[in-house]
């Protein structure tokens, strides 16, 4: 069965009126396809809701385009273009490696030899490789020598090889750094080779791969360098690769471990010794420029490698001592790059068509709808965002684009057996999942592990992201998640006739308070889990000055993210980075010493463990998750407090709130937030409704909320497994309403938007969007409040 003949992406997430957005489309099969710009209203196909709704807007780029297949060349590597100095007669290669998949399954998507340090193409040149049997291999032209000793995975090894053109002698060294009691000795392998090194013009020097093909095909322009297809992608770390122009002795190889070392001579020439200085072709030091896309060469020729597809850097090197944990403090212990055969930073496709957004175009959710006559279909979502100062509404919806990137092309239902335990039913995969299960080159999400099993901590938006799609039900919810779920809210805004602007996480990150301050109220998406520091700063500054905030979901403000500065030249927010450190809900766990971002150098992990509690943003924070079914809320006595009673006008006290919905069948579900004044909820927070006591066994308390494992953590037993709808005032007439459940927005479209959740949200929005500061509560509400002595009404009732 063929899935998704058409896929594509845009060069921007958010585009200003007057600017141009480019669309890059792969059409694999159909001779032509139709493109049409549509406004997105509702993306959920569930027959119990309003159904899928889009509106054609008659854009100038609408039309029929010739189909062209475009390929993604994923897998990270470093390269230096062909230079005569690399075309040596004799050679020595050396590096440290920490391989993760020295041997792969015959059906593995990139089964075969892996290149370590190579200038080799089609039987010409030299290179250090790992062969199919998982052993180190040295190639001189078409001649091969190998140790026959399989590399231990996830362990450091020193590997080196030399070839002497005069004698024809080749020597290969494999020296494991970790040697256990029963490991056989690995002797150097020597062999006389009757060959003279020859080179194919144009062959680059490659680190973590080799030159597989030189191609004139139009698709091959998407590779780096254009037309050069790298193969044999290596999985694992490489540290301190060196190339010398003669066969070095073992002692010289040992000395070359020191690298170029210009400080050893008052003349500052390269080389740990004068003799070695004359032999160095390249001596790379990846500890320099960890936040860049270059692998620095400290040798005499400055052959800095271009690092392609954003491998993971700031990784512990062969010499990491476990005394420092921040690469900025001791970069010399962070000279390793972890390459993966599925890394992808930019699909680099050819532009298929573009659209200059007319001035005056309304700020909304849009998509380029692509269809072929044989039933092929894809949507490329984007957002028209006003320039700062040209806001058109009192309301802004903040699209959680960093969270969308974190979930981009997520593979859990396919990769992780545990997915079924998590969701408490058999996962349902959609065409997007089926396509991705076969097309690993589209890259994964930050929830996935790489194909080598290591954590995936960088995600690019310059690739088709098939999870940001309408008509897409996610296995977690068996319903819309993220992008299509946020359109539940958009449908409701449209249905109720509100004027609103769209802004994205990247706009707020780069523009700060200026992006927010003209709006009376900011509305979040259903799951704004992944956030940059500048974005959180902006939200706090906004609320401090009287801004109003509607937190429409849960599990927000959880993970530390940063945009990689190395990609700033390509636009805003191209690659986002996140590390899964010592706590939080983690589908993988970062290794020791690898908690700091390679891009910004900041400590990754949860904001909570940077002293920025989730609950400080909107008043509630994540406490539990479960994905089988949702439930409803009941009002609390606090909902009658005159400070907040206005929110419940038209809703009786005993009504079941949200016992319906398009996510799990209720408004309280999937991931849930609660009030906790010890974790940053302001002590004057009012809990106005709660779902306490109604969740299933599939719901479990988050691990950062308990110190050791014990029974009794599920929704049928633990009191923190609940969602609290909460309200608090902020200074200068501002306020925050936290609805605290990812499933919440799924209740809004129910009965065409006529229901009690819709009523509640409408009451809040109508008050929050007003121009003047909100009225002050009565003087009786202004009292001293502690944190630990805050007592919820339910606790009082129990006493």
């Amino acid at each position: 069965m063929t899935w998704m003949k058409i896929t594509g992406y845009a060069d921007k997430f958010s585009v200003h009126p007057g600017d141009t957005i480019k669309f890059l489309v792969n059409c694999d099969g159909p001779a032509e396809y139709q493109a049409e710009i549509v406004k997105m209203i509702h993306a959920d196909t569930n027959p119990r809701g309003p159904g899928f709704i889009e509106e054609s807007i008659k854009a100038s780029c609408d039309g029929t385009y010739k189909g062209m297949k475009q390929e993604i060349y994923s897998g990270s590597y470093g390269f230096v273009v062909d230079k005569p100095q690399f075309c040596v007669e004799s050679v020595t290669l050396q590096c440290w490696i920490w391989p993760t998949t020295p041997k792969t399954h015959p059906k593995y998507w990139k089964h075969g030899a892996q290149g370590l340090v190579t200038k080799w193409h089609d039987g010409k040149g030299y290179g250090l490789f790992i062969n199919e049997d998982g052993c180190v291999e040295f190639r001189i032209n078409d001649q091969v020598i190998s140790t026959g000793a399989p590399l231990r995975d996830h362990a450091w090894h020193f590997v080196a090889a030399s070839f002497d053109a005069k004698t024809g002698e080749a020597v290969l060294y494999h020296e494991p750094q970790i040697v256990y009691a029963l490991d056989p000795e690995i002797e150097p392998v020597t062999k006389k080779l009757a060959t003279k090194l020859a080179y194919t013009p144009g062959t680059p020097t490659v680190i973590a791969g080799y030159c597989g093909a030189l191609s004139d095909a139009p698709q091959a322009k998407a590779s780096m360098p254009a037309g050069t297809l790298i193969k044999g992608h290596y999985n694992g770390k490489i540290d301190s690769p060196r190339i010398a122009n003669r066969a070095l002795s073992r002692l010289e190889i040992e000395t070359m471990k020191l690298g170029a070392q210009p400080g050893l001579s008052e003349r500052r020439n390269s080389g740990p010794t004068g003799k070695l200085s004359e032999a160095i072709v390249a001596s790379w030091d990846f500890s320099d420029g960890i936040n860049t896309l270059a692998g620095k060469d400290k040798g005499p020729y400055l052959f800095h490698a271009t690092i392609v597809n954003c491998p993971t850097r700031a990784m512990t090197g062969y010499n990491w001592e476990g005394q420092v944990f921040d690469w900025k403090t001791a970069p010399e212990q962070y000279g390793a790059i972890h390459f993966h055969d599925d890394d992808i930073d930019d699909a680099r496709w050819a532009t298929s068509f573009e659209w200059t957004v007319p001035k005056g175009t309304s700020s909304k959710f849009y998509a380029a709808k692509l269809t072929s006559k044989d039933g092929g279909e894809d949507y490329i979502p984007f957002w028209v965002v006003p320039r700062v100062g040209e806001e058109t509404a009192k309301i802004a919806f903040m699209v959680p684009t960093i969270s969308y990137m974190a979930y981009a092309n997520e593979h859990l239902a396919n990769n992780a057996g545990g997915a079924e335990l998590l969701v408490y039913r058999v996962p349902i995969m959609q065409q997007q999942n089926m396509f991705l299960s076969e097309h690993r080159e589209y890259g994964g999400s930050i929830y996935d592990t790489h194909t080598d099993g290591s954590g995936l901590c960088l995600s690019s938006r310059l690739r088709p992201i098939l999870s940001i799609r309408p008509k897409y039900d996610h296995f977690l919810a068996q319903a819309p998640w993220q992008y299509p779920a946020d359109l539940h809210m958009i449908y409701w805004l449209e249905k109720k006739g509100y004027e609103y602007d769209i802004i994205t996480d990247e706009d707020v990150t780069y523009d700060g308070l200026a992006r927010l301050e003209k709006y009376n109220v900011i509305i979040t998406g259903s799951h704004p889990e992944h956030n940059s520091g500048p974005q959180l700063d902006a939200l706090h500054n906004y609320m401090q000055r009287g801004g109003r905030f509607m937190y429409m979901g849960a599990d927000g403000w959880y993970w530390v993210h940063s945009y990689h500065p190395g990609y700033d030249g390509l636009g805003r927010g191209i690659v986002t980075e996140m590390r899964r450190c010592e706590s939080g809900i983690r589908t993988w766990r970062a290794d020791p010493g690898e908690y700091y971002h390679q891009g910004t150098g900041e400590l990754g992990g949860m904001w909570r463990f940077r002293g920025r509690y989730l609950h400080t943003i909107a008043g509630t924070g994540m406490s539990s998750e479960g994905f089988d079914i949702s439930t409803y809320y009941s009002r609390t006595p606090e909902s009658n407090d005159e400070r907040v009673a206005w929110a419940f006008e038209g809703i009786t006290y005993d009504e079941k709130l949200g016992n319906f919905g398009l996510v799990g069948g209720g408004a309280a579900g999937t991931e849930l937030d609660i009030v906790d004044t010890m974790l940053g909820s302001p002590p004057h927070t009012l809990v106005v409704a709660t779902s306490a006591g109604r969740h299933t066994e599939g719901y479990l308390l988050v691990m950062e909320d308990y110190g050791f494992n014990q029974q009794g953590l599920d929704g049928t037993q633990h009191p923190r497994v609940r969602s609290d709808i909460a309200y608090h005032e902020t200074p200068n007439g501002g306020a925050s309403f936290a609805f605290s459940s990812i499933a919440f927005c799924g209740a809004l479209p129910w009965n065409n938007g006529d229901n009690n959740i819709s009523k509640l949200v409408g009451n809040v929005l109508n008050r929050f969007m007003k121009d003047a500061p909100l009225p002050m509560p009565s003087p009786a509400a202004i009292v001293h409040r502690g944190r630990a002595d805050y007592d919820q009404p339910m606790n009082k009732a129990r006493k």
């Binding site: 997915a419 079924e420 039900d473 589908t587 799990g664 299933t696 066994e697 599939g698």
Partner: protein, 146 residues
Amino acid sequence: MIPIPRKSSPDAQRMIDEHKECIDSMKGVAGNSVLKCATPGDTTTVTGGIHEDFQLNRVLLRMRAQPAKGKLVVVCTKIEKEWRIARLSGIRGVPPEFVTDKVYDNEQDPQHDIFLMRLEEFAETDGFPEHFREGWKRRDDMWTVT
């Protein structure tokens, strides 16, 4: 340990009946749990199933904990119209393969059929802690992790 009862046993039949009732009651819910909706398609009140049948609860947990290789999944082949049952390869880059020709007209029925298939496929003692197998040293044991 609690064995996975043979399909022909009274225990299995009780669980099959309970499972089916639960799944049938979930039709229309955008989600699913092995619990019984008091009103079909409405999660306001849910009872029975995994909350009240301890053996069913344990057996389902063991089935769900199976590693990815060979695990049954549901694939939506036409949005809101057709679903089929497939099996995961466990190998990165090798997609799931359909295992039956049956095409379902709702997303809940395959959940029950997969339960029936697993009752046939799983050994009575599958998942017993003492039956760890090759790979147990590297976390590739019988209880999967993400």
